[in-house]
């Protein structure tokens, strides 16, 4: 039923688009200009780049507005159709490819109608009727964007697989203002074109945008480099103890899962993942002999271990992270009832990120092998977390974390770690120590920490 409705909808949209396209071919007057504009649209369409985090802006919205102004709406329809050809994504199913093409033509046509209705001048008239050109451009952008959004929402709604509201919220709203900005730039391109510069105007507009695009891509490169470098360092630090290998990266992944569940903003999400990765970085300041020491640690040695959060902050203090990253590293061993270290904070006064990391930290520790015990199963560990949730952890966050793990599962560390070593009596990991009641290091071994 749905499938049928979808086909009817897409075919009628396509039919309408083809009719409009056919009419447009009948209205061609100035072929050389049209060809130059099609070339501009093609180039614009190939130069896509991401603005903000997940929005792909393609420069064809710049070119499209220029076509409206220079050669009129009918030419814009043809140029849109031409520019779509190299953008067809072969991996998409046929019906979507057809729909995407039809949808673009219809949106362009709607923009053209709006441009004409608003009295937008075509050709040299734009130089003498600036105000009408600007209002025409606004009207065209609005009509084009609304038509595009309406058609895509409709097809999403008929298809029934995802929510059109989500689409409106995540794609349409955030893209409106950048799109309007690009359209204005297109108007300016048209004016300089008509002002005598012709196709050279395209270069004036595109080249600065290309440099901006280059800078944006360099930004990504730097970010990736930073993440890779931090991971490499964490791996070196973890070589101090075979049993904690990969721990920081798993914690980073785990807090990432929990962060998405809590719907953090993009900035805070990546800050949280950084904090998860770096939470134990201060262990580099704890002598390896203590970290690897078999048996019980005496008070001095415990003090050395308790210093690691402060050491971590000392190390990362200069990196311009959000403040939350530093407070999370400092307080990730605090407990909800106030019995943790270094400050003995309790309840909500423990920083939010620190509470999140505390949970995932303990979870990964329990599901990993230690020299004195094998790894626990995920179910068993979740039970332990639930049991401890009023003493050690933020109960609400524990519930959220249990939800996430039950839904998405957990990539356990067991495969990549050494077996427990029967000859070792008890090396107690500092993360195990944070779990009193039913952790492996219960009772006397753990002591009041």
């Amino acid at each position: 039923m749905r499938h049928h409705a979808l086909r009817v909808f897409v075919s009628s949209a396509t039919l309408l688009a083809l009719v409009i396209l056919g009419l447009a071919f009948g209205k061609i007057t100035d072929l050389p200009t049209l060809l130059a504009l099609c070339l501009l649209m093609l180039i614009g369409g190939l130069l896509r780049f991401s603005v903000a985090s997940n929005y792909l802006a393609s420069l064809d919205s710049v070119a499209l507005m220029a076509v409206y102004v220079i050669a009129g709406p009918w030419a814009a329809v043809i140029a849109t159709a031409v520019a779509y050809l190299p953008q067809v994504r072969r991996r998409l199913p046929l019906i979507r490819r057809v729909f995407n093409g039809a949808q673009r033509i219809l949106a362009t046509a709607a923009g053209g109608v709006a441009y004409a209705l608003a009295g937008g001048p075509v050709g040299d008239g734009a130089l003498s009727h600036e105000a009408r050109a600007v209002f025409g451009a606004m009207a065209a952008t609005l009509a084009q964007h609304v038509t595009n959004a309406a058609l895509v929402s409709l097809v999403i709604w008929i298809d029934g697989k995802s929510s059109p509201v989500e689409f409106l919220r995540q794609v349409v709203l955030p893209t409106f203002f950048p799109m309007a900005g690009y359209s204005f730039l297109g108007l300016l391109l048209a004016v300089v074109w008509l002002g005598g510069l012709g196709a050279l105007a395209g270069l004036l507009v595109l080249v600065p945008l290309l440099f901006a695009r280059w800078a944006l891509s360099q930004y990504e490169v730097e970010r990736t480099a930073q993440a890779a470098t931090m991971r490499a360092f964490i791996q070196v630090i973890e070589t101090k103890d075979l049993y904690t290998r990969g721990h920081s990266e798993r914690v980073s992944e785990g807090v990432g899962m929990l962060g998405r569940q809590l719907r953090l903003s993009d900035d805070r999400q990546s800050a949280l993942e950084h904090a998860g990765l770096l939470h134990d970085v201060g262990k580099v300041g704890v002598p390896t002999s203590i970290i690897r020491k078999p048996g019980r640690l005496d008070d001095t040695e415990m003090d050395a271990i308790r210093l690691h959060p402060a050491r971590g902050v000392e190390l990362i203090g200069n990196i311009p992270f959000l403040e939350e990253v530093k407070s999370a590293v400092l307080h990730h061993h605090e407990k909800y009832d106030g019995s943790g270290y270094p400050a003995g904070l309790s309840g909500e006064s423990i920083p939010y990120f620190a509470r999140i990391i505390g949970i995932v930290d303990a979870f990964d520790c329990l599901t990993s092998t230690r020299s004195y015990r094998p790894a626990r199963s995920v179910e068993e560990t979740l039970a332990i977390l639930k049991q401890d949730k009023y003493t050690h952890f933020d109960p609400l966050l524990v519930d959220a974390f249990v939800d996430v793990i039950e839904r998405n599962g957990w990539k356990s560390s067991v495969a990549e770690l050494p077996e427990p070593d029967a000859t070792v009596e008890a090396t107690i990991d500092h993360d195990d120590l944070s779990l009193g009641s039913s952790g492996g290091a219960s009772g006397s071994a753990a002591g009041p920490v």
Partner: protein, 427 residues
Amino acid sequence: MAWESPEGPEVSNRLGSGIVIVIAGLGLGLAALLITARHGVTEWPFVAAFGLLIAIGEMVQFKVDRSRNRAPIATSAALGYAMLRGPSLEVAPDIAQVIAVTSVATMIGMCPRAIAGLRWDIVVSNRRVLSVACAAVVFSAVVPRDLGWNGSWRHAIPLVGAMLLGVLTAGLVDALVGAGQATELFNKPFPASLRDELLVMGRIGMAMGLSGVLLAAGTSLLGLWAPPLVIVPLLLTQFAFRRFASAQRTYRTTVRSMARSTEIAGFSSPGQNARTASLAVAIGNDLGLTPARMEALEYAALLSGVGQLALADPSPGGASLLRTREERQRAAEIGASVIERSGVLDRVAEIVRHSNDPYRQGRASNSAIPLESGIVNVALAYEQLVGEGTGQSPDKALESIGLGIGAEYDPVVVESLRRVVGRGFRF
């Protein structure tokens, strides 16, 4: 992006030629203001609009690299104003008015930053006044004052050609001044500084210049409707380069912080890595390395000891365990493989790998070993001799390093070290 010394604040306190630039810029601005005041201001609305744009651009300037501030919106707006013509303007602004508007608007834009305690740099802002003045002079020398846009390519092409010439002049002047400053501050050979400056000019400079041309052409044709229409490339350039600069800064601090882990672990004394790196950077500048190589060199110097982390605990005194060459080379090898693991610092890893190779068995016979390894080797040795606590005098240290020329140390690097120390380099 030209490399500059790690101590940003120190740099901005040392003015030197900066004073000349500031006096020249302010003097020019004042003279232009007086001339304009006598002749009267033409086309007030354009003065106000472009002045506002310049001031706002100056206000939202950001830091690129260590000590260079950038304000792409202000630069584009000032260049755009310098090249306005009819039909929108009956009287194109003359050179004095262009300079006066740029200068006054720049000062106005700087005030809020100074009051709010943000970073501001009067030298960089005055460099812009000077280069915009040059662009204005070239543009009006090439184009008659009554030549305006009329919709025909016969006017448009010469106009845009002259604009590009003007923008190019501005870029070259700024590159020359910038290179002179880099040479003065970091003792980098002038040709190398100029090459670095021109590289920057080819990227952000090109974007700023072409946006200026677009702004001028659009405003000449459309009047004051045009500036809001150019908002996208202006903001995008600002946003993109600003984000890039901040990511770059974050990355550099990350590497520096990570390098300090050897100090926290007790393998090296506090500040040792930073001292070694500052000397390596000074030598690299003296030898005129490219910015990319400078960056790798600084990272390598900072990270040269990181291999020790994977070895056993340091001795209780905190002194380095690695007394023999074999031990040091092994640590360097481990360090290199650690750095390689990041996947993005291969050149750094290569430098670290050979940073303890003696010159004769290393670079003298194998040209694949980078010069930077030799620099790090010498910087490490000099720091060990002079660095905090060990306290040899620079002369004595130079003498003992001199004994190892050709066998232990690369002669080119030792010569450079002599120059650097001779100019008064101290940790």
